[in-house]
């Protein structure tokens, strides 16, 4: 009997010929990533457990990307970045992307691929639930806590329970012009629920994958955690190779699922038949088509985060916003500094994206996680009162973006932009003509 991509990676990294779902194995770690929220406590545990003078297992494999609470006056938050800085100096870490320097990146899950740390066939752990994003590159990637991160820092290993795999097969050869990967994953989460993939892998496959860019695939795997998934994964292809090889010279070994691999379940979606979706307050599985909630009240629009703050997300939003004034307070937060620079150089009909947003009256923030998870009270775009927000982010549980009194609709950048222009929840098909095939 064959193995899935995830099973093969875990077998290889645990020195076994094969593993089966339910096996507990100790795996060798290729990359450990941490940030300003969970790095300091992980470092504290590392020193407590391994000694004040302990060194990390392999400084080439530890990546520290401050991104959560950066542009704030909160004294505790700023102290935490100081803790990272001191640790990077003490350990002589080559991959620390410090705040206030040219190397500062922003949101870790987009920065990791940009810097070449997401390579097919490898094992990546990170102290953040959206670490599963990196599975888009055909690797095993999942979120862990501070204790597990400290354990890896000292040993380079971690125990993993081999997950069962749920396969999501995409039919169709293209995404309709009004549809984004965000709509696809909101539909899936709505179908299976926020615990529909708990303890399992979500493997995205089928001919439709070819129609998806690397950033589209990252949107899918990013939100695997919102269905409870341990990891999300896409098999590598020429699109993956082109992205990875432009970013790193490090060798890697591509891994594919066997044709006779065993799956927990298989579900089919035809990309060409899907429609714009939202998740209504207060859960990512509270699905509705945009059509069903069209005209709904809003105070604010937000485009940003690891889920919806990539260059293609802003290009999509700009296509709709171009030539219009926004009727809502509209916040634009590029995930990384690389994307922020690209907003100045990428154009639509000769106008840079950043100018399209500025001329429309959007508020532009600095690259970071910003209001996706609320954060300190002075965080850019944070919902501090009873606002109703439509957002390209990933989570809308009570209080996620700030106040417990606020409400968040999750949607694609197209839908967020369409809603920003009209002032109410709006189907992007109002702006984007359907192509009749």
């Amino acid at each position: 009997m064959g193995m899935t991509l995830t099973e093969k990676i875990l077998a290889k990294h645990s020195g076994r010929d094969r593993v089966s779902p339910g096996d507990n194995v100790w795996v060798d770690v290729d990359i450990l990533m941490t940030h300003d929220v969970c790095g300091p406590p992980a470092i504290g545990i590392f020193h407590k457990q391994f000694g004040e003078n302990a060194k990390v297992w392999d400084k080439e494999k530890l990546v520290i990307i401050p991104d959560h609470y950066i542009f704030t006056n909160d004294k505790y938050a700023n102290r935490n970045v100081d803790v990272l800085r001191a640790f990077a100096a003490e350990q002589d870490l080559p991959y620390f992307y410090d705040v206030g320097t040219d190397s500062y990146k922003g949101v870790c899950h987009v920065a990791l691929p940009e810097e070449g740390f997401t390579r097919p066939g490898e094992v990546l752990f990170g102290t953040d639930s959206h670490t599963c994003t990196a599975g888009a590159f055909g690797q095993f990637a999942t979120g862990i806590g501070n204790t597990d991160a400290a354990f890896i820092m000292g040993t380079g290993k971690l125990w993993v329970k081999v997950p069962e795999t749920m396969r999501f097969v995409f039919e169709g050869t293209s995404l309709p012009p009004y549809l984004m990967a965000k709509d696809v994953i909101l539909q899936i989460i709505g179908d299976i629920g926020t615990d529909g993939a708990t303890y399992r892998t979500m493997e995205f496959a089928g001919p439709g994958i070819k129609a998806l860019t690397m950033e589209d695939r990252m949107t899918l795997t990013n939100m695997a955690i919102e269905a409870g998934g341990k990891n999300g994964v896409v098999e590598p292809d020429e699109v993956t190779e082109a992205y990875v090889k432009a970013r790193t010279n490090k060798p890697y070994e591509k891994v594919y699922s066997d044709p006779d691999a065993q799956y927990h379940s298989v579900r089919h979606y035809n990309l060409e038949e899907m429609v714009p979706m939202v998740a209504k307050p207060h859960s990512p599985d509270n699905k509705a088509t945009v059509e069903e909630v069209e005209g709904g009240y809003l105070d604010r629009a937000y485009i940003g985060s690891c889920t919806g703050g990539k260059l293609s997300d802003f290009r999509a939003a700009a296509e709709i916003i171009r030539g219009n004034k926004v009727k809502l307070d509209t916040y634009i937060v590029p995930a990384t500094t690389e994307i922020a620079r690209a907003l100045e150089t990428e154009t639509i009909f000769g106008t840079p994206l950043i100018d399209i947003f500025r001329e429309a009256g959007c508020k532009i923030g600095n690259a970071s996680c910003a209001a996706c998870l609320g954060g300190p009270s002075d965080t850019f775009g944070r919902l501090n009162n009873e606002e109703v927000c439509i957002s390209s982010t990933n989570r809308n549980y009570p209080g996620r973006m700030g106040s417990k009194q606020s409400q968040v609709y999750l949607a694609s950048p197209y839908t967020v932009a369409a809603s920003a222009v009209t002032g109410v929840i709006t189907d992007p098909r109002v702006f984007i003509q359907e192509t009749v095939i």
Binding site: V37, P41, G228
Partner: protein, 191 residues
Amino acid sequence: MSINQEPIKGKAFVLGKNIDTDQIIPAAHLVYSLEDPEERKLYGKYALSGVPIAESGLPHGNIPLTKEGETDSEFKIIVASDNFGCGSSREHAPASLEIAGIEAIISSSYARIFYRNSVDGGFLIPFESYEDLSTEIHTGDELEIDQVNHQLKNVTQDKVYKIKPLGSVADIVHAGGIFEYARQNGMVPAK
């Protein structure tokens, strides 16, 4: 937490389903040190402060886990419905509950990372019930968890429920966390 297998006794604090980590400890509070003995108490103060107050302490609600101005809770055992601890990977979530005085949780199911963090960090024991007990048990009921016989006794209502054995994580739970487990097995040198 109790690393021996003696009964865990205390008052129940009851919650509904999908209690995510932002409700357990809101993101604005993730900045405090977990090492500083005074600063870490703030996690006890704010534990479960993100739960809408009408749904905090069921069935009646409007009960905060820790009273205004306090960092310790009178409650020892959380009883919750499905998917407890979903959302982010913040280990501050089980840590904040432990700091508030919670020793165990009984839920019909858990999100994966919260469950793992609870076990590997040795903060508290996440027990699974066979059925959703969040509608049976009331906040303030006196509970006793019998770890050896896998039973939960509601002393107040004089009812007994079976709970699931810990399974493959039992060794880590009883060791007191992943580091203690690894030391017992020679994977990490003794201190």
